[in-house]
């Protein structure tokens, strides 16, 4: 089995990495977190649109990049690393694929071009969050695809303001799914979108974790105490080594989930839950270890570390947290009665 990205995936990833370094500085994240949507945010979104990121999973006949979920994983790890304060996972994994399966090609075009930003809220495979329709990125998006009793529908965000959140970028908007305009989308497509989004945020979490680790490593190399860089002390070395281990062993699990989705592997559901469980745990572990190694400075909001830590906390819990996914895995592995882990929506074959 070739377990890697493939040339197309590598090219896209490297291109994105350079672009995001330039167009998504921490200052931009701070601005969006404070509730403003500067021109730079729109510029970043348009750039992503031009590169074709939103069309990663769309087939080439419809103007997409025709790539698979493994490329999606690579893309979203980069947007995670950069802390992109915009609904990239939602767009790539959910909005574009679902709209392309609907009659709303007009809206699809607007989303693909970056003119319209939509977010989403669907039931996680673990069932968490059901009944609490809180849609993220409410400050930058104008509406969302949301789970309804009949499947999926479209809501426009009203003028009601977002909930206060730990990470200002997340700006959650409470919506009423019963007021959504129904979209005619088949259940298999919805199911696939949920799985893709779960893997997508897992990839973001790996990227966020790696970003926090890089920040910490840079810091401890230069910060001196007792006449030496604190990075030379064994305790610090071991904390950061543990952080690296967490990231490096979560990453292939996320890639495998993407690969399973892409190849229709019978173990896809299992691999998706494993990816989310490992990515959530890794990110939470890395937040603590990197925070600890940098000391009080990392406890300030002036310092950039918290931008990524707060996002990691939110995403670790989104789409089902680590424990919920492990519990689901216990069912899938035959360790508990199946009824405890029955999927939220009707099971149907992934096409």
């Amino acid at each position: 089995m070739y377990f890697g990205l493939g040339d197309d995936g590598v090219v896209l990833r490297d291109l994105l990495r350079d672009l995001l370094k330039e167009k998504c500085p921490p200052a931009l994240i701070r601005q969006v977190a404070s509730g403003s949507v500067p021109a730079a945010a729109a510029d970043l979104w348009r750039t992503l649109a031009e590169v074709g990121v939103f069309a990663t999973l769309l087939d080439e006949a419809h103007g997409g990049l025709g790539l698979t979920e493994t490329a999606m994983v690579a893309v979203l790890e980069e947007t995670g690393y950069a802390g992109v304060p915009l609904p990239t996972t939602e767009t790539v994994a959910v909005v574009v694929p679902l709209l392309s399966g609907s009659a709303r090609s007009d809206l699809l075009d607007s989303v693909l071009s970056g003119r319209v930003i939509l977010s989403c809220w669907l039931d996680s495979v673990t069932g968490h969050g059901r009944g609490e329709p809180l849609v993220p990125y409410g400050a930058v998006a104008t509406g969302a695809l949301v789970a309804t009793a009949g499947g999926v529908g479209l809501v426009d965000f009203a003028s009601t303001g977002p909930e206060r959140t730990v990470d200002g970028v997340r700006s959650l908007i409470r919506v009423d799914p019963s007021s959504a305009t129904p979209l005619d989308i088949d259940p298999a497509g919805i199911r696939r979108a949920v799985l893709r989004a779960t893997v997508g945020v897992s990839a973001e979490l790996v990227g966020l974790a790696r970003r926090m680790l890089d920040i910490a490593v840079d810091y401890v190399k230069t910060r001196e105490q007792f006449g030496a860089p604190v990075g030379s002390f064994q305790a610090v070395k071991h904390h950061l080594a543990n952080a690296l281990i967490a990231v490096e062993f979560a990453r292939p699990a996320v890639l495998k989930a993407g690969y399973s989705l892409a190849t229709g592997d019978p173990d896809t559901e299992r691999d998706v839950s494993m990816a989310k469980a490992m990515a959530s745990e890794a990110a939470l572990t890395v937040v603590k270890l990197t925070l600890q190694c940098q000391g009080a400075i990392a406890y300030t909001t002036e310092y950039d570390h918290q931008l990524f830590a707060k996002r990691a906390w939110a995403l670790a819990a989104a789409w089902g947290g680590a424990t919920a996914h492990r519990q689901r895995l216990a069912g899938l592995l035959g360790l508990v009665a199946r009824s405890d882990s029955r999927p939220v929506q009707a099971e149907s074959a992934l096409s």
């Binding site: 030379s232 690296l244 062993f249 979560a250 494993m274 519990q327």
Partner: protein, 329 residues
């Protein structure tokens, strides 16, 4: 049947298997419940060194006999005063020019399967004035040579092959030197990567343990507390993660890349994974865990994992220094 060393060239008793094929072989070997291989120290630790540094004569002589288990090799590195700090070793080799060889004197310990082995590969200080990692030579020593005394002692898990080896002016010819006089450290270190990571512990071993753990938990599902199920799932996931991580590495190696210090990540991960899998099994077994059997022995042996092949503390230092670039001092 040439199954002992599938990745070796046919000429030396192997099957010229690729790294991928070797991984598959290992998975099937463990899945079949095949016994631990008594030749493994030779195969995984000495053989790569012989391939890299041996003369043609050494390769032609040593490797086939190793593959056929005619010679059983143990590793003579640690000494009572030299564990993690291997460079402080004091066993010495004194040149005996008249006889065309060397006289080895010293005390090696923690020698896995030493009590059952026929040969030892070890590091000895051949330059009397040298210190630390300089002036060492890598020797290949027959354990039936005059002056050798092997004393086995029992390990926590009941294995009694563990041994100390006393050498009292043991003669070995010049042909017993591997890789050049005074070059012992470089020769030994060139293959420590393989000891720690990939080749010492293939994922197959842990995938099989994880499968057995799942089977055990299913068997006893009525009595397993839900909290323990969470442990089991977590450790099962780690076994899968180790497998996937290794596949990524092999993908890179097959494309011409190298792992280098990354093998320290492998070592830390598999050694702690092994403990976790066995701890979970003992939780499932409850009071039955005190019976002397595969699970309890496996648990006790797993505790050695963070110690041998370079302690996990040393490994974490290596990860921090060589992979993250943190300053040594």
């Amino acid at each position: 049947a040439r199954w002992a060393v599938v990745a070796w060239p046919e000429r030396y008793g192997g099957r010229d298997a690729s790294l991928w094929e070797w991984l598959i072989f290992e998975e099937e070997y463990y899945r079949a419940g095949a016994p631990p291989r008594i030749t493994q120290n030779g195969i995984f630790l000495l053989a790569p060194t012989v391939f890299a540094f041996g003369t043609d004569e050494q390769r032609d002589h040593i490797l086939p006999r190793m593959a056929a288990a005619q010679d059983l090799w143990c590793q003579g590195w640690s000494e009572p005063g030299a564990g993690s700090d291997l460079a402080s070793l004091r066993s010495r080799a004194v040149r005996d020019a008249a006889e065309g060889g060397w006289r080895l004197t010293g005390h090696k310990t923690w020698t896995t399967r030493g009590a059952f082995c026929t040969h030892l590969f070890g590091l000895f200080r051949s330059d009397p004035g040298s210190e630390r990692h300089r002036g060492l030579t890598y020797f290949l020593v027959p354990l039936d040579a005059p002056g050798v005394t092997v004393r086995g002692f029992q390990r926590l898990d009941g294995d009694d092959g563990f041994a100390e080896v006393f050498l009292d002016e043991v003669f070995v010819p010049d042909s017993a030197v591997l890789g050049g006089v005074g070059k012992g450290w470089q020769v030994a270190m060139a293959t420590t990567g393989s000891e720690r990571g990939l080749t010492l512990r293939s994922p197959g071993r842990f995938l099989t343990v994880a499968e057995r753990l799942i089977a055990l938990a299913r068997q006893r599902s009525e009595s397993v507390p839900p909290a323990v199920l969470d442990w089991i799932v977590g450790r099962w996931m780690q076994a899968q993660a180790y497998h996937l991580f290794t596949l990524q590495q092999v993908t890179r190696i097959a494309a011409g890349g190298e792992i280098g210090a990354e093998s320290s990540l492998n070592k830390i991960f598999w050694s702690e994974l092994d403990i976790g899998l066995h701890e979970a099994a003992l939780e499932v077994l409850g009071p039955l865990g005190e019976l002397d059997d595969q699970w309890s022995r496996g648990f006790m042996f797993s505790l050695a994992g963070p110690i041998y092949a370079g302690t996990n503390e040393i490994q974490r230092n290596i990860v921090a220094e060589r992979l993250l670039g943190l300053p040594r001092k």
